[in-house]
C-alpha cells in the first residue's frame, strides 16, 4: 500500500532522472564537408572545406557577426584607423588564450605573419598580406629585416599594421584564414617555421585558439572538434562538438542526410533540388554565394578579338532560361560582373540588348546570320552541370546567331593547364570571393594579372583600379568600380552567366545556422535542438 502511495513520487523521480540524462546528452552537430582537407594549418591550406574547419578551430582579429552579414571584432576588441587610412591599431582581448592555456599576444600575430611571408613555406595565400608595407618585399627577399615591415607589436595586447595604400576593404579581408595567428612554439617543436607540411596539425600536437579544439582527425573518415575551454568567449559556444565528414559524392551525402547521419550537407545533387522543394521545403536552404559563373574569352583569337562578336555571343544567351531549366539551383542570372549585394555595392552598368541586337552586331562584324563564322571551341572541365550548361548555350548560339560552337571537355588539371597557358578560345570559369568586396571581382581583370588569362587589358581600367585604392570613402570607391564595370560590360573579355547560390540540406534541429555570403558562418553561434 505504501508503495502504491509512493508511486507518483517514484515516477516523478524516474522522469527527473531520465530528463537529467537526456539534457546531459552532448550536443554534437554532424556536418558534410566536401573534400578531405589538405591540412589544418591556416597558412598552408587554400580550399573551402578547410575554411569551414578553420572557423571552428581558429579565430583572427575580425570575425563574422551572428547576423551572418556583418563583421565584428574577434580577437581584436577594438581598433583605430589613422587619418590617412594606412595605419590600423588593433587592441587585443586580454583574456584571449591558446587551447593549451598560453596567453595570446600581439607578438603571436607578428611571428605568424612573418612565417606566412617566409618564402620557403611557399604559402599560396601569402599574397593576401601584400597590402601591408614591406610584406611583398620580405617574401621576395628584397627586405631582410622583418621589423621593417608594417607589422608591429606595440605591446602584448596592441598590434599595429601599416598598409602601403589606404585599402578600404582591409577590415573585411581580415576574416580570411590567412590572417589567423598560429601557435609558433608548437610549429617550432614539430618541424620548424620554414618547412611546409609538418605533423604539428595532428590531434596530439595541434594548438589553436578558436571556439573548438581538434579531438580526432581520421583522414577521409571524420574530423571531430570539441569545445575549447580556453576560448575567450567560451560562454557563447552552444554546441559540445562538431563532426565534419569529408564526403565528395553529393548523392552519398544526401543519403546520409536522409538516414539522419548528417544535420547539414555541403551540397545537394541538382536533380534533387526540385524534389525537396516540393516534398520537404523545410529541409532545403538556398542562399546567395559570393561568386560569379562566367565564360572567359581569349581575346587574341579570331573572331573573338572583335568586341562586337563577344557582345553578340553575350546577348544571345538566355540566362533566365539557363538558371530555371539547366542549373536549377536558384542561381541569379548575371548581367554584370560583381554579384548583387557585395558590401552594399550595386552595379550600375548591366549587359543590355536583345537577340536582334546580337544578330545586328554579328552582321556588323562580318558574319551575317553566322555565315563565314570560323570554328570556335568552348572548353569546360568534366562535370555534368558544366556540360549541360555548355550544351544549352551552344544551342542558343546556333539558334539565335547561326554560329556553330564546338564543345571540348577536359579533366580538371588538364583544363587548369589550358587556362594557365591561355590555350582556349572560350572557357567556362567561376570566381568565388576570398572576402566580401567588389574589389575581389574587379582586380582580376587588371592587365597581366595571373588570374586574368583572357589576355585582355585596358590601361584606363588599370588606372581606375589603382585609383580605387586611394578613394576617400566607399562612395567614391564604388563610383570608380562602376566605371570599371562599364568598361568590362562594353568590352566583355568575360561573359557573365549567373551568380552562385549555395543550396544545401539542413535538419530542422538546427538553431541559429545560416550561411554567410562566403559560406563561413561562425559555428560558435549554432545550436541544436535536443
Amino acid at each position: 500500500m505504501q508503495i502504491v502511495r509512493r508511486l507518483p513520487l517514484l515516477i516523478m523521480a524516474l522522469a527527473a532522472c531520465l530528463a537529467g540524462q537526456l539534457s546531459a546528452q552532448p550536443k554534437i552537430l554532424n556536418v558534410g564537408n566536401g573534400a578531405e582537407p589538405q591540412d589544418l594549418d591556416p597558412q598552408v591550406i587554400t580550399g573551402v572545406p578547410e575554411h569551414h574547419l578553420m572557423i571552428a578551430l581558429n579565430e583572427g582579429l575580425i570575425g563574422m557577426a551572428k547576423d551572418g552579414a556583418h563583421t565584428e571584432g574577434a580577437l581584436a576588441e577594438r581598433w583605430t584607423i589613422s587619418e590617412d587610412g594606412r595605419v590600423y591599431t588593433f587592441f587585443l582581448r586580454k583574456e584571449a588564450k591558446w587551447s593549451n592555456g598560453d596567453p595570446l599576444t600581439a607578438h603571436d600575430f607578428v611571428r605568424s605573419y612573418q612565417r606566412l611571408l617566409t618564402a620557403t613555406l611557399a604559402a599560396d595565400y601569402s599574397y593576401m598580406l601584400f597590402v601591408v608595407k614591406g610584406a611583398e618585399d620580405y617574401l621576395r627577399g628584397k627586405l631582410a629585416d622583418f621589423s621593417q615591415t608594417g607589422f608591429q607589436a606595440l605591446d602584448d595586447h596592441t598590434l599595429e599594421i601599416t598598409l602601403s595604400k589606404r585599402t578600404p576593404f582591409f577590415i573585411n579581408s581580415l576574416t580570411h584564414y590567412s590572417w589567423y595567428p598560429v601557435h609558433i612554439p608548437t610549429i617550432e617543436k614539430h618541424g620548424g617555421l620554414k618547412r611546409k607540411g609538418s605533423p604539428w596539425t595532428r590531434p596530439e600536437n595541434i594548438v589553436t585558439n578558436g571556439p573548438f579544439r581538434l579531438k580526432e582527425w581520421i583522414p577521409n573518415k571524420i574530423i571531430t572538434v570539441e569545445r575549447n575551454p580556453h576560448y575567450w568567449d567560451a560562454k557563447t559556444v552552444l554546441l559540445d562538438g562538431i563532426n565534419f565528414f569529408p564526403i565528395e559524392l553529393t548523392d552519398t551525402e544526401e543519403r546520409m542526410f536522409r538516414a539522419g547521419q548528417l544535420d547539414i550537407t555541403n551540397e545537394i545533387p541538382p536533380a534533387k533540388i526540385a524534389v525537396y522543394q516540393k516534398r520537404s521545403p523545410e529541409l532545403i536552404k538556398i542562399d546567395p554565394y559570393c561568386g560569379v559563373y562566367f565564360y572567359r574569352i581569349n581575346v587574341t583569337r579570331k573572331p573573338l578579338d572583335d568586341k562586337r562578336v563577344r557582345k553578340a555571343l553575350a546577348l544571345a544567351i538566355d540566362r533566365e532560361l539557363l538558371v530555371k531549366m539547366v542549373s536549377r539551383g536558384g542561381q541569379l542570372p548575371a548581367y554584370s560582373i560583381v554579384p548583387p549585394g557585395v558590401a552594399d555595392y550595386t552595379p550600375k552598368y548591366r549587359l543590355e540588348g536583345t537577340v536582334e541586337d546580337a544578330k545586328r552586331l554579328l552582321a556588323e562584324a562580318g558574319y551575317p546570320n553566322g555565315k563565314g563564322f570560323p570554328r570556335v571551341e568552348l572548353l569546360y572541365n568534366t562535370l555534368e552541370t558544366h556540360r549541360a550548361l555548355a550544351e544549352a548555350i551552344q544551342q542558343m548560339w546556333k539558334k539565335n546567331l547561326g554560329v556553330e560552337i564546338g564543345l571540348v571537355n577536359q579533366e580538371w588539371k588538364v583544363y587548369l593547364d589550358s587556362q594557365k597557358m591561355s590555350n582556349f578560345q572560350i572557357q567556362r570559369a567561376g570566381w568565388i570571393g576570398d572576402y566580401v568586396d567588389p574589389h575581389v571581382f574587379l582586380d582580376l581583370w587588371e592587365t597581366g594579372n595571373r588570374n586574368n588569362n583572357t589576355l585582355w587589358g585596358n590601361p584606363k581600367y588599370d588606372a581606375l583600379l589603382e585609383k580605387s585604392l586611394d578613394a576617400k570613402d566607399d562612395e567614391e570607391r564604388y563610383a570608380i568600380y562602376q566605371e570599371m564595370e562599364g568598361i568590362l560590360i562594353d568590352e566583355l573579355p568575360v561573359l557573365p552567366i549567373y551568380f552562385y547560390t549555395r543550396p544545401r540540406l539542413q535538419s530542422t534541429r538546427l538553431i541559429n545556422y545560416r550561411t554567410t555570403f562566403l559560406d563561413n558562418y561562425p559555428w560558435k553561434y549554432v545550436d541544436l535542438k535536443q
Binding site: 598552408v44 611557399a122 543519403r255 588539371k413 587548369l416 594557365k420 595571373r450
Partner: protein, 306 residues
C-alpha cells in the same frame, strides 16, 4: 618448385621496376601538375613549392632519388596532403581496405562457389537457370547501381544500417555484400564452367562406377579440378578486392586505398600515385604467384611441367 618460385620472384621484381619507371615518367608528362590550381600563385611561391618537393631538379635526378628512397622503404611525402607521407596514408588506409576486401571475398566465395557447383550439377534445370540468372545480374548490374539501391532499401527504408560510414561493425555489412556480390558472379560462372568440364571426364565416370556417392564425386573429385579456373581468377581479383573499389568506397564513405588510388591521379599527387601503384602491382604479383602455386598443387599435370 623452388626454381619456379625463384624465377617468378625475379620476374616480379623486374616487372615492378618497369611499372614504377613507366608510372614515374607517365605521371610527369600528363598536363597539369600537383600545384596547378584555379587561383594562380606568384612565381616565387611556385618555385619554392617545386624546390620543397625536389621538382626543380632534372628528371633523371628525381627518378634516381625516388628509386633510392623506395628501396629504403620511403615512398616520399604526399603533394596534396601537406603534413602526411605516402607511407602513412597507405598504412592508415590499407587495413580498412583489407577488412572490406576479406569480408567481400568471403561473401563472393560463399555465394559464387556453391551456386556454381549447384548450377553444374543440376545442369539445364530450374536451379541452373536461377543460379545463372544470379550470375548474369551480378555481372551486368554495376556496383554504382546496386550500392545506392541497397542503401535506399536497407538503410533508409528499413533503417537496419547506416547509409554510409565506417564506424560500427554493422557498417561493414552493406559494402561487403555489394562488393562481394559483384565478385560472386564471375566466380559462379567460372565454377560452373570448371565443374561441367571436370564432371564430364573419365575419372568421374570411374568414381561413379566404383559406387562413390554423388556428394563425394562432386565435392572430393569434382571440386579439386573444377575450381582451377576460379583459383586463377582469384589472384588478380583478390588484389583488386583488397586494394578496394573506388566506387564502393565513395558510395559507402569508406576510408580505404581505392579512393586514394583514383584521387591521387586526379590530384597529380605523384608520390601517392606511385605508392598506390607499387602496392597494387606488388599485391597482384604476390597473389598471382600464390594462385599459381595453389594451381600447381591441385593440378598434377602442371606439377610435372614445373
Amino acid at each position: 618448385m623452388l626454381r619456379f618460385l625463384f624465377n617468378r620472384a625475379l620476374q616480379s621484381v623486374i616487372a615492378l621496376w618497369v611499372i614504377v619507371t613507366l608510372t614515374f615518367f607517365m605521371v610527369r608528362f600528363v598536363p597539369g601538375g600537383p600545384f596547378t590550381a584555379e587561383k594562380a600563385v606568384t612565381p616565387e611561391i611556385e618555385a619554392n613549392l617545386k624546390a620543397h618537393y625536389g621538382l626543380d631538379k632534372p628528371m633523371h635526378v628525381q627518378y634516381l632519388s625516388y628509386l633510392g628512397k623506395v628501396l629504403q622503404g620511403d615512398l616520399g611525402p604526399s603533394f596534396k596532403y601537406a603534413s602526411r607521407t605516402v607511407n602513412e596514408i597507405i598504412g592508415e588506409k590499407f587495413p580498412t581496405s583489407v577488412q572490406l576486401g576479406l569480408c567481400s571475398l568471403a561473401v563472393a566465395l560463399s555465394i559464387g562457389v556453391p551456386l556454381g557447383v549447384l548450377a553444374a550439377v543440376k545442369r539445364n534445370t530450374w536451379a541452373d537457370y536461377l543460379a545463372s540468372t544470379v550470375g548474369m545480374l551480378g555481372i551486368s548490374i554495376p556496383t554504382f547501381v546496386v550500392g545506392p539501391l541497397a542503401v535506399l532499401f536497407f538503410a533508409i527504408h528499413l533503417g537496419w544500417f547506416n547509409a554510409s560510414g565506417w564506424f560500427e561493425p554493422r557498417d561493414r555489412v552493406l559494402p561487403s555484400l555489394v562488393l562481394g556480390f559483384a565478385y560472386a558472379a564471375p566466380i559462379l560462372r567460372l565454377t560452373r564452367g570448371g565443374m561441367l568440364e571436370v564432371l564430364g571426364q573419365d575419372f568421374i565416370r570411374t568414381a561413379r562406377a566404383k559406387g562413390a556417392s554423388e556428394t563425394r564425386v562432386v565435392l572430393k573429385h569434382g571440386l579439386r579440378g573444377g575450381l582451377l579456373p576460379v583459383i586463377s581468377f582469384l589472384g588478380p581479383a583478390t588484389a583488386g578486392i583488397l586494394t578496394g573499389s573506388f566506387v564502393i568506397e565513395s558510395i559507402f564513405q569508406i576510408p580505404g586505398v581505392g579512393r586514394e588510388f583514383v584521387s591521387s591521379a586526379t590530384n597529380r599527387d605523384y608520390t601517392l600515385v606511385l605508392g598506390t601503384v607499387i602496392l597494387y602491382a606488388s599485391l597482384i604479383m604476390a597473389l598471382n604467384l600464390l594462385s599459381d602455386v595453389v594451381n600447381v598443387w591441385l593440378n598434377p599435370k602442371l606439377r610435372l611441367e614445373t
